[in-house]
């Protein structure tokens, strides 16, 4: 599934060559669009020529449609592509400054490169200005670093902020863009001196058809994501390589080299009666894409162990989380039922059923959470515990992140 990890597969030289060619395409299209010409760019801000908006929003909408179409068909993993992190206020302040720079200088950095490439002297001076401005930023930023790093919202997306399914948001953005194009064409007729391009009916039709397709296909559900997961992960689950015994969980707890997190998918009542020390309660509903994506930036020695009453809910959660390629993810074999079975000597709960079933197999009268003896097995007792160790820290390939940030 895309995005491909070309750096790992092709090595640095071929990776950079492909990037260079992509950059070439970028430069060609910008120049063909006339963006090496500062008069053409500035005309946008006098309503004479809506070229800038047509190209920018045309590109934004085209890529957005292609990305979400590909995601809907399971060809591209939206959670794995670079979505610029949001630093809300610095972004707005920087944007305002850039707006001033745009109308004073007549370019933005990308278009100035194209102007420079076609020997425009105004482009040359603009680029020199950009380099100078960048230099001054580097010299001064550490004095306002707190402000520059403020209002950080992580990988915030429009759909999360609006609480919408992206497959609805995409058509809405397309319709807004079409409205902006139409409005622009009207303003061009009023303020412009030359006839400008109008969006053809086939063009409008294409955008609308693509939008409807995105809407109908929908954004992949957790089950659909699991279907597209690679064979290796599916094998791990089938071969039970990722199920660890209660004794191994105790060992992980005392292992200083491991950053352990235990997530418990039982009911609130069950959790309040008994849970393993330092475990956190989680529900399948709260396993949103937003939450899981945050775990992509976990430290490399983070090991996550999922548990439920038995194994059913933990397996469902494991599949959902694994579809986002979260490494070092394990399931507690047999869940809390089996934990209490193995550590029977640490409690006097009555056995009330088959521990293999996803129903509590132990009667726990006092709801004292992690204060039971069986919640925290003492380190000295580890010596007498035997288990087949399964946990192996995976080496995570580092992909080069965003360029401009």
């Amino acid at each position: 599934m895309a995005p491909l990890n070309l750096l790992a597969e092709l090595g640095t030289e071929y990776y950079y060559l492909i990037i260079f060619l992509i950059g070439g395409g970028f430069g060609i299209v910008l120049e063909q669009a006339g963006f090496g010409n500062s008069m053409k760019l500035a005309a946008q801000f006098y309503f004479r020529d809506f070229r800038v908006i047509k190209v920018m929003f045309g590109a934004i909408v085209t890529n957005m449609l292609l990305v979400f179409l590909a995601a809907g068909f399971g060809l591209l993993d939206y959670s794995a592509i670079w979505v610029n992190p949001t630093y809300l206020i610095p972004g707005i302040v920087g944007g305002l400054i850039m707006g001033f720079g745009f109308i004073i200088g007549g370019f933005c950095p990308g278009t100035s490169l194209v102007a420079l490439a076609t020997f425009k002297l105004d482009g040359l001076f603009f680029v020199l200005g950009v380099l100078t401005g960048i230099f001054f930023f580097g010299e001064t930023v550490d004095s306002f670093a707190n402000f520059w790093n403020s209002t950080y919202m992580g990988r915030a997306t429009l759909q999360d902020w609006l609480g919408m399914d992206p497959s609805w948001l995409v058509p809405i953005v397309v319709i807004v863009a079409l409205g902006v194009f139409k409005g622009g064409e009207i303003l061009e007729k009023i303020f412009g001196t030359e006839p400008e391009a109008r969006l053809s009916k086939p063009g409008i039709g294409l955008f609308l058809i693509a939008s409807v397709t995105v809407l109908v296909i929908g954004y992949p559900t957790p089950e659909e994501r699991w279907n597209h997961v690679d064979e290796k992960s599916k094998q791990l689950l089938k071969s039970r390589q990722i199920f660890i015994e209660p004794a191994e969980l105790v060992k992980l707890y005392y292992d200083d080299a491991i950053d352990l997190k235990v997530y418990d998918f039982r009911t609130e009542d069950g959790f309040n009666r008994f849970h393993i020390i330092d475990s956190e309660r989680f529900t399948l509903d709260s396993l949103s894409e937003e939450v899981i994506i945050k775990w992509k930036s976990n430290p490399p020695n983070r090991v996550i162990v999922l548990t439920g009453t038995a194994e059913k809910s933990a397996i469902t959660a494991w599949k959902q989380i694994k579809s986002y390629n979260i490494p070092n993810l394990y399931i507690l074999e047999g869940g809390i039922n089996h934990w209490l079975e193995v550590f029977q000597n640490y409690h006097d709960f009555n056995a009330i059923g088959n521990p293999a079933l996803p129903r509590p197999a132990w009667e726990i009268p006092k709801a004292i959470g992690n204060a039971h003896k069986a919640s925290e097995i003492p380190q000295e007792d580890l010596k007498s515990l035997k288990f087949e160790p399964k946990v192996k820290l995976e080496k995570i390939a580092k992909i080069q992140g965003g360029g401009c940030g």
Binding site: I22, I28, M39, M56, A70, L131, G405
Partner: protein, 193 residues
Amino acid sequence: MEQTFQREEIMKWISRLKGPNVAKKYMNPYLAGALLGLVLFVSFFLTGNGLGASGGLNRIVVAIEDVIVPEHINKTPYLMKLAGGDRNALDHWIVFIVGGAIVGGFFSGWFSGRVKVETVRGKGVSVKTRWFMAFAGGALMGYGARFARGCTSGQALSGGSVLSLGSWAFMFAVFAGAYALAWFLRGFWQPGR
């Protein structure tokens, strides 16, 4: 007879390589937008990243600084992240996007007859004034782009198309800033020179 034919063919190729004498018309902006979106998609599909420009220029500046004053880099936290110690500021994909864009822009201009040493400016504006304004605007742009952690290519085009919240806020701010100041600079951008 055959010699003349071959000579004609060679002359045709030379004139193709030289490029047209008269500048060709610009591409339909909607078509250009769709093609640019396609380039963006290819980039995201193959590499997981979009496009960008200011980041590459940033790294070029830091790389130059690293040659002239490496000790300064190692003392400035913001610069250290890019070029501190053994790090090569130019060893990043964004630099190659910038390189490719310049080369691509050149060839596109060359074969469209638009490569020309000139200063594009409004009616009644002197060359020197235009150069000064270009430099001043560029300086604001450079500063603002790093402030915003990206420019119209990296934030608006790339981030906006994958629905980053910050990118959309940024985009509105850019247009707001430009339109706000445009009225006061209307004399500078008069067409018809």
